[in-house]
């Protein structure tokens, strides 16, 4: 089964095609552009390009997997709107995967911190043991994340987290590497398409029902209710 994976939860726009068989996964094609303001322009041509690379047509797709974030809202929605509309047009199921989970899975064995840039001097983060999420996703300042991953006890919400992270990955980990004080996997900055599909593989194989692609915003919209009217007479 040919599966399309999309992720726009980081500055990268990623489109990938993965062949899912009964007992394996084979990456067919992947395109990626790293530009935090260009998801809306880059993603669709990348999808057309990976289909072209594979000599496939849209109607050959069996499912779509999308990274649902967390990530900066505007870019994140590009991937989800594209995935949802394609799924609807093709009548194929869509499956959502936490974008940090794709990085966590790709980081492999060990205890790993995944952090991506949430802007405003914060990161989206989660921690993983052998690819399985044990804490998160949350949004926090890097110093607070560092305290969580290095200090036993205290205000740490999970024993699984404390003092146990061996390495970090994700562009947020690279940006704030000094703060976290653990080695950073510099090759692993953005969610890989194949990892997104691997996480959804069971759902794909059993043809699970299509899922609404609900973004993990983790922050409420900035909006303030207007205060009382300001006088115009002086």
């Amino acid at each position: 089964m040919l599966v399309l994976a999309l992720d726009t939860a980081t500055p990268a726009s990623t489109a990938a095609l993965v062949e899912v068989t009964a007992d394996g996964l084979f990456g067919v094609a992947e395109r990626r552009t790293v530009d935090p303001r260009a998801h809306g322009e880059k993603l669709a041509p990348e999808i057309a390009a990976v289909l072209g690379d594979a000599g496939a047509r849209p109607r050959d797709l069996a499912a779509i997997v999308a990274g649902v974030g967390p990530g900066p809202f505007t870019g994140l929605r590009v991937g989800l709107a594209t995935a949802a509309s394609m799924g609807q047009a093709l009548g194929i199921p869509t499956y959502g995967v936490c974008s940090l989970d794709a990085l966590g899975r790709a980081a492999g064995p060990g205890r790993v911190l995944i952090a991506t840039d949430a802007r405003r001097r914060e990161v989206y983060f989660a921690t993983y043991t052998d690819g399985e999420r044990v804490f998160g996703p949350e949004v926090a300042r890097p110093a607070d994340v560092a305290a969580l991953i290095t200090t036993a006890g205290g205000h740490a919400p999970s024993a699984a987290l404390t003092g146990l992270v061996e390495k970090a990955a994700g562009e947020g980990a690279l940006k704030y590497g000094d703060v976290f004080g653990v080695p950073v996997e510099e090759h692993l900055l953005h969610p890989p398409g194949a990892a997104l599909v691997a996480i959804a593989a069971a759902r794909i194989r059993e043809a699970a029902p299509s899922e609404p692609l609900t973004p993990l915003y983790l922050r409420r919209p900035d909006a303030v209710e207007p205060a009382a009217r300001k006088p115009v007479l002086t």
Binding site: G40, L43, P58, F73, R77, L90
Partner: protein, 350 residues
């Protein structure tokens, strides 16, 4: 006619998620979801709230439109989408979805100008538009006078607001009168019981010195402040505020300026057709005053019905249908959402 183009249009430039389907000049479906209620307590549209609502509403709104028209995406000749102007994040949801539909269904895509679409929608109700025409677009987001020589090629801006949009002024005045949001329909209703001549509010950019540089431009910020000052002095004097009279006098000031400048634009351009669109076009006083003044100069006024005046998908589909029929080349898959899109081209060139 079976050979007229079947076009689907997607609109997400502000707080309305719209999907419309037209064949030629015939409207087949116009599905709409609005996030207006979510913005009410903020007194204006919150962009992030609107963007979130668009993402949730798009797929179900698309399904309703397809069901209403009794077609599938495979049947359409093209997909049109508002590329701009509008709220950047909101536009991007519609553009991304339109690309997904176009890619998956292997259809051409047209990124179109929202203002031109407001003009094109009138053809669904009144048939082909005599060209040239003057269009006045008035809503919470825009207040423009346009000269329409050829709807498929390019539209010439004659003037626009230099501060608040007309609909914005309605929202702000409704708020200071404690009437609610959105302000347009509420002020219209409140004004019915008031005297439009009771308070002389200022008419922006109509003095001789302003007309030299801003003949076809609008300004509503001074009017809004004048209303606020007037209301406040009454309150300070401990006198009751005659809400209906304030509403009627404010509305009269807005409609007076809008229609005077629109008729002037028609006469200056030698144009005999005035199209009015945008949410404020639904204002009852604006329609009456425009028709009264236009009749004196032999100018025909065309105002689509209220559902087509406010933002919707049908207007985008209507413009798309014009573009397809005229053989205009589609846009490419990298077409941007352009929050400040100009009118030099009605669609994003391919």
């Amino acid at each position: 006619m079976p050979d007229e183009p079947l076009v689907l249009g997607i609109e997400t430039s502000c707080d309305e998620t719209g999907v419309g389907i037209v064949r030629g000049h015939t409207l087949l479906a116009d599905a709409l979801a609005s996030s207006v209620d979510q913005h009410a307590r903020f007194g204006g549209v919150v962009p992030e709230v609107a963007s979130r609502a668009h993402l949730e509403a798009l797929v179900p709104t698309m399904q309703r439109a397809l069901d209403e028209a009794g077609i599938t995406l495979a049947d359409v000749d093209a997909i049109a989408v508002t590329s701009g102007p509008g709220l950047a994040g909101a536009l991007l949801v519609g553009v991304a979805a339109a690309k997904g539909y176009a890619l998956a269904a292997e259809k051409p895509i047209y990124g179109v100008n929202h203002l031109a679409a407001h003009v094109a929608v009138d053809t669904l109700e009144h048939g082909p538009l005599p060209e040239p025409a003057v269009a006045m677009l008035v809503s919470g987001g825009h207040s423009s006078l346009l000269l329409v020589d050829d709807l498929t090629a390019g539209v010439t801006p004659l003037g626009a607001t230099i501060d608040d949009a007309a609909g914005e002024a309605f929202d702000k005045v409704a708020r200071l009168l404690g009437l609610g949001f959105p302000g347009g329909p509420i002020i219209d209703r409140s004004a019915r019981d008031g005297d439009p001549a009771s308070i002389a509010f200022p008419r922006g950019l109509t003095a001789a010195k302003d007309l030299a540089a801003h003949r076809f431009d609008f300004s509503f910020s001074g009017l809004k402040t004048a209303v606020a000052r007037w209301v406040e002095s009454r309150e300070r004097a401990g006198e009751p505020v005659p809400v209906a009279d304030v509403s009627a006098s404010f509305q009269e000031a807005v409609c007076d300026v809008l229609t005077a400048k629109a008729i002037d634009a028609c006469r200056t351009s030698g144009v005999k057709t005035l199209v009015i669109g945008g949410g404020v076009a639904a204002n009852s006083r604006l329609r009456v005053l425009a028709e009264e003044r236009a009749a004196k100069h032999g100018i025909a006024v065309r105002v689509p019905r209220p559902q087509l005046c406010t933002d919707n998908g049908a207007m985008v589909a209507a413009l798309g249908s014009h573009l397809v029929a005229a053989g205009v080349a589609p846009s490419r898959l990298d077409l941007p959402a352009d929050s400040a899109m100009g009118l030099t081209a009605v669609s994003v060139p391919g």
